[in-house]
């Protein structure tokens, strides 16, 4: 009799303990990633960030929605870095794969395409790796941006120039894609407002491999600082050619490329180059929810064996923000989660997250700040990325002006 009672108690306990997990359903999050094509290098770390978040959430039992737990399933396809594929695949994710929520592809251009589809079907899409602000000014209601908008990207670089050499002659050169053009437009307006002198302003094709002609024009303009760039491939080529052609510049700030750890493979050509960054592993944010920056960095390194950049952090943050909104809403219904996202104004490991809620700019990121990182020589002459601006986030003093070449 005693034995029977003990068994019954054990079984009851087991059922009670397992209850949340037994009820665990699956929440499907759909997106595309550029496994092939020119955006592959930038898109890959973002995917790793999504996957790390999924694994951590599922290990912890899933997303808690009221009394239920939802395991996270990521459903994704290769968009081949092509907008045509994105349009087709986001429709498929919604209609055939029944994705509950969406993450954006990498890049502003692909995200703008995906947003047309997500809005058409009224699906929430958390965008990361997509800084161009235009997409959020089209009256979308379910789009939420994590990145600092493009027009503020180079503000920190301009702050450095203003502080160090306000009479500097600035060359602004940028890829003619949507994101880089939006960054340049914002930088030009900011430079004018700050009384800085832009002596050369020109775009180049995003697939440019030889920057010789444009570098000659920079020299001819007499510019002594350079800001601009585009994505990884063109940015790393530009940095190498500026070095090979011995262009004397006091300060260089390029978009995206110098934030990828592999940029250090350029050797001397990487030294001193700065990058406006959405996030650096050394930031000291105290999060209101989720992991601390150091815990994220540690987990990422343990899983993938390398240090995360801001693309990876953005991927993880997209999951974290969505999770928090769902848990706060206590529902997976679009209206409830949208309301929770609209009301979010919180510090995360990735920085502050606060979305605009006005009709004209709904979903635009208005809380997040950029930092400026610079490649410097560390211990045993190895190149390391240091946060150099703003002073409050600084991990090393800025190298300014850069070393000049003897001609």
């Amino acid at each position: 009799m005693l034995r029977m009672s003990a068994m019954a108690v054990t079984l009851t306990c087991a059922v009670l303990l397992a209850a949340p997990f037994a009820q665990a359903k699956t929440l499907t999050i759909g997106f595309t990633t550029s496994e092939t094509g020119k955006l592959n290098a930038d898109s890959k770390p973002q995917l790793l960030g999504f996957e790390l978040w999924r694994d951590q959430v599922n290990t912890a039992g899933g997303i808690k929605v009221g009394s239920k737990h939802y395991k996270v399933a990521l459903k994704y396809y290769d968009d081949q870095s092509s907008a045509g594929r994105v349009q087709q695949l986001y429709s498929r994710l919604i209609l055939q794969d029944n994705a509950d929520f969406l993450f954006s592809p990498y890049s502003s251009g692909l995200t703008a395409t995906a947003a047309v589809v997500s809005e058409q079907f009224g699906k929430i899409m958390i965008t990361t790796g997509a800084a161009e602000g235009k997409t959020y000014r089209l009256g979308n209601k379910h789009l939420f941006q994590l990145y600092t908008p493009a027009d503020k990207y180079l503000k920190s670089a301009l702050d450095v120039i203003k502080a160090k050499s306000p009479k500097a002659k600035i060359a602004l050169i940028y890829s003619n894609d949507g994101f880089s053009s939006a960054v340049a437009k914002g930088a030009l307006a900011n430079a004018k407002r700050m009384g800085l002198h832009v002596v050369f302003d020109e775009s180049y094709a995003s697939d440019t491999t030889d920057f010789g002609p444009i570098i000659n024009k920079i020299v001819a303009s007499g510019a002594n600082v350079l800001i601009g760039g585009g994505h990884y491939a063109d940015g790393s080529t530009l940095a190498r050619q500026l070095h090979d052609k011995k262009v004397n510049l006091h300060f260089i700030s390029l978009l995206v490329a110098p934030d990828i750890p592999k940029f250090a493979n350029l050797g001397e050509a990487a030294l001193g180059v700065t990058v406006p960054s959405q996030w650096e592993h050394s930031v000291g944010y105290k999060p209101d929810f989720g992991v601390a920056p150091s815990a994220f960095t540690k987990a990422f390194e343990a899983k993938y064996g390398n240090q995360p950049g801001y693309h990876a952090a953005g991927g993880y943050a997209a999951g974290l923000v969505l999770q928090h909104a769902i848990e706060k809403a206590g529902s997976i219904k679009t209206a409830a989660v949208t309301k929770a996202l609209n009301g979010m104004n919180a510090m995360t490991f990735y920085g502050r997250v606060h979305f605009a809620t006005g009709a004209g700019d709904h979903g635009l990121q208005i809380g997040h700040d950029m930092v400026l990182a610079q490649w410097q020589k560390g211990a045993n002459n190895k190149l390391v990325s240091q946060v150099v601006w703003p002073a409050s986030a600084q991990t090393a003093p800025i190298l300014y002006p850069l070393k000049t070449f003897a001609h």
């Binding site: 592959n40 020109e202 001819a220 090979d244 990828i260």
Partner: protein, 287 residues
């Protein structure tokens, strides 16, 4: 004024490399009337081969050209027997699709192996500086080597028995066969040579710029322009066409936004096609 001179000098140097890249395409088309769409992928493989020899094995980049040319030849002959041999003589579309398929396979495998993240061969040589403008030493050596390789190919085609056989097949395959020339073997050799030259061009480009598996694409496009400028099937014309294209790029750049350069370049290309349908350098045709 200084910027125009610097820009033209850079244009000529980079143009010589365009020319070398185009020679491979031109040779293959001239001999077997195949538009080789693996051309860009082969240029990219040449870049990665250089990376392997320099960054992994520690070779000097210019010494690495020898195994790259030899390896390129072997790969070219293999591609010929696998994808081209059986479709030669059938419609042009068949060979176009066969080489396109090979191109997609190479790009796909290359992306899986190396991603599309750029690779860099960290190598430099002292250059020439003039009024603040610098031409890197690597660019000067690359252009010189491009001309030397083109010259060696010329010597091979005009002064060796096999080279003459290649030209004979290009001129009239049936007649060459009647003269006892093993035409299939010669076609394989020509294809191998075309790929070897493309690989060499890729290796030289890799000494100048970071690259990805997709980087060959833009040089392939330029190679088509250069080949048409120089006259289809005319390697000497291709080299001259490459230098002309570089000069156009260099001459235009100081006066317009650089993103307009391709528009001007291709507009000139269309005009040249209208005025000289057989290419600008017909006189240099080798058959």
């Amino acid at each position: 004024m200084y910027d125009l001179v610097a820009s033209l000098a850079s244009g000529v140097l980079v143009g010589a490399i365009y020319g070398l890249a185009a020679i491979g395409l031109s040779l293959i088309f001239g001999v077997m009337k195949v538009i080789n769409l693996t051309h860009g992928a082969m240029i990219a493989l040449g870049m990665f081969a250089l990376y392997f020899f320099v960054s992994v094995l520690g070779f000097n980049p210019y010494v690495s050209l020898l195994p790259i040319v030899a390896g390129g030849f072997v790969v070219g002959v293999m591609v010929y027997w696998i994808a081209v041999n059986r479709v030669i003589g059938s419609s042009d579309l068949m060979s176009l699709l066969a080489t396109f398929a090979m191109n997609m396979i190479i790009i796909g495998v290359g992306t899986a192996l190396w991603t599309t993240s750029p690779y860099n061969v960290d190598f430099s040589l002292p250059g020439i500086s003039w009024h603040g403008y610098t031409i890197p030493g690597t660019q000067i050596v690359a252009a010189a080597l491009a001309i030397v390789i083109a010259g060696l190919l010329y010597v091979f085609l005009y002064h060796t028995r096999t080279g003459k056989a290649v030209r004979a097949v290009a001129s009239n395959r049936q007649a060459a066969e009647l003269m006892g020339i093993p035409t299939r073997r010669i076609l394989a050799i020509a294809f191998g040579l075309g790929i070897a030259v493309a690989g060499a061009a890729g290796a030289l480009i890799a000494t100048l710029f970071p690259f990805t598996i997709l980087s060959g694409g833009s040089y392939e496009l330029k190679s088509f322009v250069v080949t048409v400028l120089g006259g289809l099937g005319n390697p000497a014309g291709a080299l001259a066409g490459g230098i002309l294209l570089g000069l156009i790029e260099g001459g235009v750049a100081p006066f317009v936004d650089v993103s307009w350069t391709p528009v001007i370049e291709f507009s000139l290309f269309v005009l040249i096609l209208i005025a000289f349908p057989a290419g600008l350098f017909r006189i240099g045709k080798n058959h």
